[in-house]
Symmetry: C2
Amino acid sequence: MIRLYDLAGARDDCRFSPNCWPVRMALLHKGLQFETVPWRFTEKDAIAFSGQGSVPVLVDGEHTVFEKWAIAEYLEDAYPHKPSLFGGPGGRAPAYFVTNWTVSVVSAGVIRLILSDIFNVIHGKDKEYFRKTREQRFGMTLEAVTDGRDKRVEEFRNSLQPLRASLARSPHLSGEAPAWTDYVVFGPFQWARSVSHFPLLTPDDPVFAWRERMIQLFNREADKVHVLEK
Amino acid sequence: MIRLYDLAGARDDCRFSPNCWPVRMALLHKGLQFETVPWRFTEKDAIAFSGQGSVPVLVDGEHTVFEKWAIAEYLEDAYPHKPSLFGGPGGRAPAYFVTNWTVSVVSAGVIRLILSDIFNVIHGKDKEYFRKTREQRFGMTLEAVTDGRDKRVEEFRNSLQPLRASLARSPHLSGEAPAWTDYVVFGPFQWARSVSHFPLLTPDDPVFAWRERMIQLFNREADKVHVLEK
């Protein structure tokens, strides 16, 4: 059976990685059997076989694949007769663009709004590592990163305009039915609701309604884990 | 023959619209015969038949289509046996996302860097209309909008990161060969080089090299008009 190493918090059912969630949704989209293995930031030994220091890491028989986009392409190519993640070959390059947009706009925006909350849900053994590496990356304390978020969230919401405009045309970013572009953008939103009460979106935002549709997919998979923002 | 109403400046061969250029490239991509009709901002009567006050407006026999995305979809559906603009059905929804990203990030960024330069190339009869409508929209003079651009251009370059990341994987945004997503993002870059000497990009930027590839397409179509930034 396929194995997905999946970032976990103190609770085994706290699964908050914005990069693992798209993979999990992609596996469900493809209808593949899989199990997730809870993994903590400091358990480097557990995934050393992959040559990586972070998740997602996916093991499918003899194949070890890491990094969300590489995994998406792997699943598409290894299981071509299962439902397509990209809607066919022409969808692959623009889906990669959406993946890049997610990383540099959505995830980069979300982390500045929830970083200090992540600290509260992670495993005790990860706390020192997490604080040290993240404070080094941002050049300030975790708490300083999220300071003033009530005001700054407006800028984040504005940055979602391309997504909002697309949702005016179809219920999903990938069109009538969801596919990879939806799963990858959903990642940072599921990340936020897994670790924080902070409201990223207002209920009147079409992105809010889309996120609800995403939560309902696959028998509400995104609610089968522990979440803070309902 | 297909007719494209195309925004023109004082010179008939100054064709600077970021919204008309993607259509022009799409027509060439499809290998369709067409002629462009130079149109100025204040020539509302000339396109009144379309119900629109701005271009692009495309007339194909009995069909009148306006707005760049609607025209792209029209061409794809009306000429299904010509080369696809979206690489097949799965590419359409993410291509729409890229179109929305272009509007709210690339075009919105470019206009704040070149607005006052546009004023210099437009037809004399458009100048009063242009200054009045744009100064109303921005709530400041044309000159104030572009003030400080030498510093602000950094932020614009940063906003191109999703494009840059995609170009690390393939020579075009649409993959190995160019298609709609490339044409639509190229629009604002061709706009800038048509009206301004201001360097939007640095030569070491992968986006710069991509823009060069776009300029070379279709026997250097983008250089057959009058441009300021070479």
